[in-house]
Subunit: 344 residues, 2 copies
């Protein structure tokens, strides 16, 4: 029996499968999927945040080890992470799919399922999108929008000398997870660890990153953070971007960068330094943010609300410019961030 | 000398080329390109229209005969056409580019140029986007947004029995243009016509469609149209969609469908029926709209403001359902619309 593929399905059939997943229409959505454009009621007394990010097969994921539901999850997660970094509450999204003709219909459904589950978690409504065939890679392009109070917007440009530099969660796990996924495909993993809890833990961090939606909103609403950015392109890149945008320098203590046990364990068995993964791994969707000394009390309040999510100070904002990274007492150059283009 | 390609350029260099084209920042754009998300001031006393559409190489265009500036133009035009169909005034857009490594830098610049020229014409501000490499086709995904008065939104669902059915402009030219572009590549065209004015005229209609932004806004604001849709997937598809969405039937007189001289001339020399191109050609970005008899006066006012753009009645909305197409006095089945998926 041959497997059903999207190339043999009509656009109407595929659209019907998307519509079947739509939940209740929120009151702010005047016209949803099915017309030339969506019509939404803009937020009252708030600004709007808009972001777009895409996942391209062969560049951002490998279908041989990234399950379709994880592709759908990540495509939305990377966008929600961008909204979180601005302090915005997500509202809606559009989904553009470019589908290889041989994509199994089951994978199409699983991709929608992964997108949909994360959307429901964060109260995100799908308002539109489009379907196209792709003569090459599977491409998932998402635009997400949300609301943010005008005076509570977090940008990269607000860091001031004396602020403490924080990161949420633990870093490097996504890079370990990518490595674990690859090892699983080539059969290397089982020879060393078997598919143990370490592997499962880091793989999930790579495949289904949890966007820090609530943290971003809290950091913004409470006026705790002066600057914020997500770590989509790695910590080193984020440190560089925030320091340049804010016109400040930073002293970063590499030994304070939080790395969890599973990640340390993975790299200790697989010839890698977990701290390098934490600095340059491009798939940690944690937040980098800066907090002035007088707002430490607010940060403690945020931390209490975030319960088990660690918020770790890794350095300090300074006058001047440039990021000074100190590791085991010695200053080191900041590694280059992640880039999909060759020249960088 | 080898040609510079995007794959050898850093993302920063490519981003700098995009930023260099940005015009003045409008007052409603609080945070533009360069942060995790754009922050915009939503319209006051109006709803917001949001749409997204993508162009995929090998599906929607062929780089061997579509110049890069036309790719940029069309990627924005198809989205502005969707906003026009809702009666919305465009405001901003995001641009996601998935670039083959071997794409010449000159083509990258030309693509941006085509996008930018059309954006300036319609006062559209680029607020964000992203760049990725593509291991396959060039993909251009655009999201556009605009504003529309709450009670002036045009949908596909408002047509009522007795309304007259209109189309803007002339149809079939884009299909003739696509055919002319292909003929040029294979060398067929020059053997028959040479690159004459007919060819140039229809090719431009395919390559650089003019979205009916002003017409859509006028039809909405003046309360002239009851339903509206753009012809991105062909007239036959649009007639079907509007009649289904509105729960009405339609009588369409194929002989009244407006086809311009260049298109007739092209098809008379190239074994094709211009009326078939007008019905099923997927790249005419004209508007289909319905007007009640009591609003004909308003339509005349709109027509005067649109000056040289023909607005042609091609039929009438009826009770019941289904589109009855009459051609040379005989009823014919409505041809199927354009689809990029095989099953349809």
């Amino acid at each position: 029996m041959t497997q059903a593929v999207v190339g043999a399905s009509s656009e109407r059939v595929l659209l019907a499968r998307i519509r079947a997943r739509l939940g209740e229409t929120p009151s702010w959505l005047r016209v949803g999927i099915g017309d030339d454009a969506a019509i939404i009621e803009p937020p009252r007394n708030a600004a709007e945040a808009i972001t777009t990010d895409s996942l391209v097969e062969g560049v951002h994921f490998d279908r041989t080890f990234v399950p379709a539901d994880a592709i759908g999850h990540r495509a939305l997660a990377v966008n929600l992470s961008d909204l979180a970094a601005m302090g915005a509450a997500p509202r809606g999204a559009t989904l553009s799919l470019m589908l290889p003709a041989d994509l199994p219909l089951d994978d199409f459904d699983a991709l929608l399922g992964g997108f949909d589950r994360l959307a429901r978690t964060h109260n995100v409504t799908l308002v539109g999108g489009n379907l196209s065939q792709s003569p090459g890679p599977l491409v998932v392009d998402v635009m997400a929008f949300g609301t943010v109070h005008r005076r509570k917007v977090l940008t990269r440009a607000g860091a001031r000398p004396g602020d403490a530099v924080y990161v949420s969660g633990t870093l490097g796990a996504a890079r370990a997870g990518l490595s674990a996924c690859r090892a699983q495909v080539t059969g290397i993993a089982s020879s060393k660890d078997g598919p143990g809890p370490v592997e499962a833990s880091v793989r999930d961090r790579y495949l289904r990153p949890e966007p820090r939606v609530r943290l971003g909103m809290l950091l913004g609403r409470t006026g705790t953070a002066t600057a914020c950015m997500d770590l989509s392109d790695g910590l080193a890149d984020a440190l560089d971007q925030v320091s340049v945008a804010s016109g400040v320098g930073m002293n970063i203590d590499a030994d304070r960068i939080p790395v969890d046990e599973a990640t340390r364990s993975w790299f200790s068995h697989h010839d890698g330094a977990s701290i390098d993964a934490a600095l340059t791994g491009g798939d940690d969707y944690e937040l980098l943010f800066t907090v002035p000394p007088r707002r430490r009390g607010r940060l403690r309040g945020v931390a209490r609300l975030m319960r088990n999510l660690p918020l770790t100070q890794i350095g300090t904002v300074t006058r001047g410019q440039g990021v000074r990274l100190v590791r085991a007492g010695r200053e080191e150059p900041l590694p280059r961030g992640f880039s999909h283009f060759a020249g960088e």
